[in-house]
Structure formats: structure tokens, C-alpha cells
């Protein structure tokens, strides 16, 4: 239970700068400091950010959007997932730029505020319900306890998973030196359920990943090790620690110190696996990962960093 509470309370400190093109006052406003829930979505911060920047904004219609290092952020991806994916070395606070004009409609799906986010969330929930239960119906009419029950019945069947894969071409001693993601083209998005069979009591995170991205695992893999939060540590996470993020940070620090890459097939190598900001060991039972680290939309969002050899063409 601790890990679950932990996930729900997890937050990311953001430092949000208004894009210079929309600053009409001198001196420019200081950035907004916000603790954003990991399991939330960025446009929901509009209710805080609009009033904060309102005196500076030029007149006109507002449609909020964010960018990180110039990359427009997909608003329907949970905040925590964006952070795990785009910040190799977790940046605290995470510096983002907010825009209220010039929505990049060719790159981002339109977002008309809170309703769009709610709609997107409900669609995901329906999709997850379909994966787990075989139909979309009635998910919204279910009580909380029924929804939980729906979830617990899942372990015999399909688990909703969203996997985000990004690649680097060389090893980096320091994650800070990793090249920043400058285009969504560089990230593979795999939206595919993972099947668990009831008789398979020892289905691990490793097994799940082998199903989703078999291309990064070779058949004769003998030694799979990755440091990170292991099962026992995860269970011992103290509940009295209110700033749960700090505890995560400590664990992550340990993980980086002892990290070993998973050794795999000759062409690619997994360097990093992040779920809810932590790096679970691959031997952890997948059911535990899913039960404790899933998002409110019942999807498990997994970020994977892969090293691929230097391309010599294109």
C-alpha cells in the first residue's frame, strides 16, 4: 500500500517561464514555481498559471501549451511520464516554458482546457477497461470499489501498458551529458497490452519487456542485472515521509551509482527503465509493478532508454 500512496502523492517541482513573445511588461515576470502531481496533466495547471501571468499577457484568446527545450509537450501524457522520458538526469526544479498563444496545431492535438484533458483521460480509462474486461461499457458508471475489483481481476489477462522508448548512440557517464530529446520522432510509442497467464506466477517486469520490445533482448541472455529499487526496498518505503519525492530521489541516486546496463542483443542495449520516476529491478514480479505503479487511467507508463550503435547512413 505504501508504494501506491507514494505514487499518488508523488510530485514534480516545476519552474515555469512565460515565453518571451508573450511578455508585455518590464521587468518580465518571475517564473512560477509549482509542485505538479506526477499522475496529473500539464494543462490542468492553467488555473494556477493564467492568473499568475495574466497581467503580462497580451490581449487575445488563450490556449495553453508547454515546451521543454523547444520541444512542445504532448498534453495527454501524464506529467511524471514526460519528466521521466525527457529528463535523463532529473532536473529539479524542472524548467518548462508556458505559452498562451501560437498553439502548434500541426504537432499537438488541440486542447480546449480541462474538458479536453478529462475527455482524454476517460478515453484512456475506457481503453484500459476494454483491455482488462473485453468491453468499454459501464466503466464510468462503476463505483470506485467496482473499478478496483475490475483491476484486481486483471491478473489473469491483459494489462494496459504504454511504453515510450528513446535512444542514445553512446554511453554517458553522466546522464546530464545525454543529448536532449529535440523531436517526438526520436521517441517510439508503443501502446500494447501485455498478456499475463494465471499459471505463470513468476511473470516479471523483464518478461513483460521481452514481450513489448523483444528486439532489445537476445535469446541467449544469461545475465540480466540492473540496479535500482528492488522489491524489498520498495516495500520498506516509509509512509511518514511526506515529501515522498525526496525518498524517490534518494533511491534514484543509489540506483545511478550502482547501475549496470542490461546486456542484450548485439544491436541495442537497454540503459534505463523508469516507471513513476523509479528504476525497478527487472526481476520484480510484473503484477507488483502494475498494481503499485500504474496511473489513474489504469495504464502502466514505462519509459525506456536504449543505446543503439552509431548509424552510418541517414
Amino acid at each position: 500500500m505504501e508504494a501506491q500512496k507514494y505514487v499518488w502523492d508523488g510530485a514534480i517541482p516545476l519552474q515555469i517561464h512565460l515565453h518571451e513573445s508573450q511578455v508585455t511588461t518590464l521587468p518580465p515576470p518571475p517564473p512560477a514555481l509549482i509542485l505538479a502531481p506526477r499522475i496529473g496533466y500539464l494543462p490542468l495547471l492553467a488555473s494556477l498559471l493564467k492568473p499568475y501571468f495574466s497581467s503580462t499577457l497580451p490581449p487575445g484568446v488563450d490556449t495553453i501549451w508547454f515546451d521543454y527545450n523547444g520541444l512542445p509537450l504532448k498534453w495527454y501524457i501524464p506529467t511524471g511520464v514526460l519528466f521521466d522520458l525527457l529528463c535523463a538526469e532529473p532536473e529539479r526544479p524542472w524548467n518548462l516554458t508556458v505559452h498562451f498563444r501560437g498553439y502548434p496545431g500541426t504537432v499537438l492535438i488541440p486542447c480546449e482546457g480541462e474538458d479536453s484533458v478529462k475527455w482524454s483521460y476517460i478515453n484512456s480509462l475506457k481503453e484500459a477497461a476494454y483491455i482488462m474486461n473485453g468491453n468499454c461499457k459501464n466503466v464510468m458508471n462503476m463505483s470506485q470499489s467496482d473499478q478496483l475489483e475490475l483491476w484486481h481481476s486483471v491478473m489473469n489477462g491483459r494489462v494496459p501498458v504504454r511504453l515510450y522508448v528513446w535512444s542514445v548512440s553512446e554511453d554517458f557517464d553522466d546522464l546530464e551529458d545525454m543529448p536532449k530529446v529535440d523531436s517526438w520522432e526520436k521517441i517510439s510509442y508503443i501502446n500494447r497490452p501485455v498478456e499475463i497467464h494465471k499459471e505463470d506466477k513468476c511473470f516479471t517486469l523483464h518478461d513483460a519487456l521481452k514481450i513489448l520490445v523483444p528486439e532489445f533482448f537476445s535469446n541467449d541472455l544469461m545475465n540480466v542485472k540492473s540496479a535500482g529499487v528492488d522489491f524489498e526496498d520498495a516495500l520498506r518505503i516509509p509512509s511518514e515521509d511526506v515529501s515522498s519525492d525526496k525518498v524517490v530521489e534518494d533511491h534514484v541516486q543509489n540506483a545511478y551509482e550502482h547501475r549496470e546496463a542490461c546486456s542484450i542483443s548485439s544491436s541495442a542495449e537497454i540503459k534505463l527503465i523508469r516507471i513513476q520516476g523509479i528504476e525497478p529491478k527487472l526481476e520484480i514480479p510484473f503484477s507488483w509493478v502494475v498494481n503499485n505503479l500504474m496511473n489513474p487511467d489504469y495504464f502502466l507508463h514505462i519509459c525506456v532508454c536504449v543505446k543503439v550503435p552509431q548509424q552510418n547512413s541517414t
Binding site: 496545431g105 504537432v107 473485453g134 520522432e185 517510439s188 501502446n191 500494447r192 528486439e215 543503439v308 548509424q311
Partner: protein, 233 residues
């Protein structure tokens, strides 16, 4: 082999690929008015150098379909709108169609549609994605599409509990496209085949799957398959 009675109406990814090829071949062989469907392979990881490691994913594509749906009613209305904006002198006269204005409007209003048939891992069925744009590439919004494809309107779609349109990111192209929601597809696909008194084997079902699917879904976007194509088995 697969027992049709216990079949849930869905396909595996591999079956989708087989079915897609069969569909494209049938479509082309019948010399239909529309251009052929093309299979577009999509690397799972565009940045990975060794694509031979991966089972190829992809989708069917039929693009740049020009749909013009101007009927008499629309022409009148169109002219009126134009005259209100541009020539005050002609306003109010419904019987006279200003050809010059009509031609000009036609020229501006040529709309193109791209259709993609993409496999959904979640629902295990094909999904229709579409987008529309003007000749200058300017994308059309849903309300404009609904005007041209009345069966595509949310009002029409909500009549059938099986369909509605959402705007989503195309799973391969990563751009906003419109998608005909697939929830329920498995169910009505199963019904389509269960009604077949011939009780075909699954291989036959697979060959006909996309054709049958499209005969339903295509109507929503104003693409009707001639009856003879459906009967040709």
C-alpha cells in the same frame, strides 16, 4: 482451426497484415472508381538501424481522394453567403446562381481526404483514420468535414452506438488525425460473419474481413463499395 462460433470478431496483428493484403488486392482487381490501397510499412523504432530484427508493422493508405458533395441546396446557400460577403447587389435572389462566384468558390473549396486503415493492439481490429485538407494543404476542421460527409456528423454517428469520431495522434505519423472509434467493432464483425449461412473457414473469413469491415465503416465517410464487390466471393 478457429471455431467461428467462439470467435470474438477480432484479429491478431499478423492476421491483420494478411487481411490487409487480401483487401488491397480485391479492391484493385475490381477496378473500382477509387485509387488502390497501398500498404505502408512502418518501422517500430524509426531510429533503429536493423529493421530486419523487427516484424514489420504498417497500415493501408488511400490518399488524396477528392470528395465534392455540392448539391443544389448547397449551391444556393453557398452563393448567398458569397454574395453577402462580396457583392451586396446580388443578395436575396435565390433563383439566380452566380456562376462566376460558384466557380470561384469551387476552386477554393476542393477538399482532399486521406484514409488510413491502422491496426489497433488494444481492440485487435482495424481502425479508420482520416484527415481532410484544402488544395493548399490547410487542414479542415471536424465541422467542415461533417458538412461534406453528413454521415460523419456526431449526430448521425451517435444514432448508432458503435461509432464516434475523435481527434487523436496517428499512431505512426504522430500528427493529429481523426479516428473512427473502434469500440464494438469486434462485436459487429462477428455478427456479420455469423449471419453467413455458408459458415466459412477462418481463412476465408480473414480474406473477407477487411472488405466486410470497410463496407460498414466506409459508409460513414461516404465511401460506398458497389454491391457486386461484396457478392464476389
Amino acid at each position: 482451426m478457429m471455431d467461428l462460433l467462439h470467435w470474438d470478431g477480432t484479429l491478431s496483428a499478423k492476421d491483420f497484415r494478411i487481411g490487409a493484403v487480401a483487401f488491397a488486392q480485391k479492391w484493385e482487381s475490381l477496378n473500382f472508381a477509387f485509387p488502390p490501397w497501398v500498404w505502408v510499412p512502418c518501422p517500430k523504432h524509426p531510429w533503429l538501424a536493423s529493421p530486419e530484427l523487427l516484424q514489420e508493422e504498417g497500415y493501408l493508405s488511400m490518399e488524396k481522394i477528392c470528395i465534392s458533395r455540392l448539391n443544389e441546396e448547397d449551391i444556393d446557400q453557398t452563393t448567398q453567403i458569397d454574395t453577402d460577403e462580396e457583392e451586396a447587389s446580388c443578395s436575396g435572389n435565390k433563383d439566380v446562381i452566380d456562376d462566376a462566384t460558384l466557380v470561384q468558390r469551387n476552386h477554393h473549396e476542393l477538399h482532399y481526404y486521406d484514409f488510413h486503415i491502422v491496426y489497433s493492439n488494444t481492440f485487435r481490429v482495424p481502425v479508420l483514420y482520416l484527415r481532410a485538407y484544402c488544395s493548399d494543404g490547410q487542414p479542415l476542421q471536424l465541422d467542415e468535414i461533417e458538412k461534406e460527409l453528413p454521415t460523419c456528423s456526431s449526430k448521425e454517428l451517435s444514432k448508432s452506438k458503435w461509432t464516434f469520431i475523435t481527434q487523436e495522434e496517428h499512431p505512426h505519423l504522430k500528427r493529429p488525425w481523426y479516428k473512427l472509434h473502434p469500440c464494438g467493432t469486434g462485436e459487429w464483425m462477428k455478427l456479420l460473419f455469423l449471419n453467413d449461412t455458408a459458415q466459412p473457414k477462418f481463412e476465408v473469413v480473414l480474406e473477407l474481413y477487411l472488405l466486410s469491415w470497410f463496407s460498414v465503416v466506409g459508409q460513414v465517410v461516404g465511401l460506398r463499395i458497389p454491391f457486386k464487390m461484396l457478392n464476389d466471393r
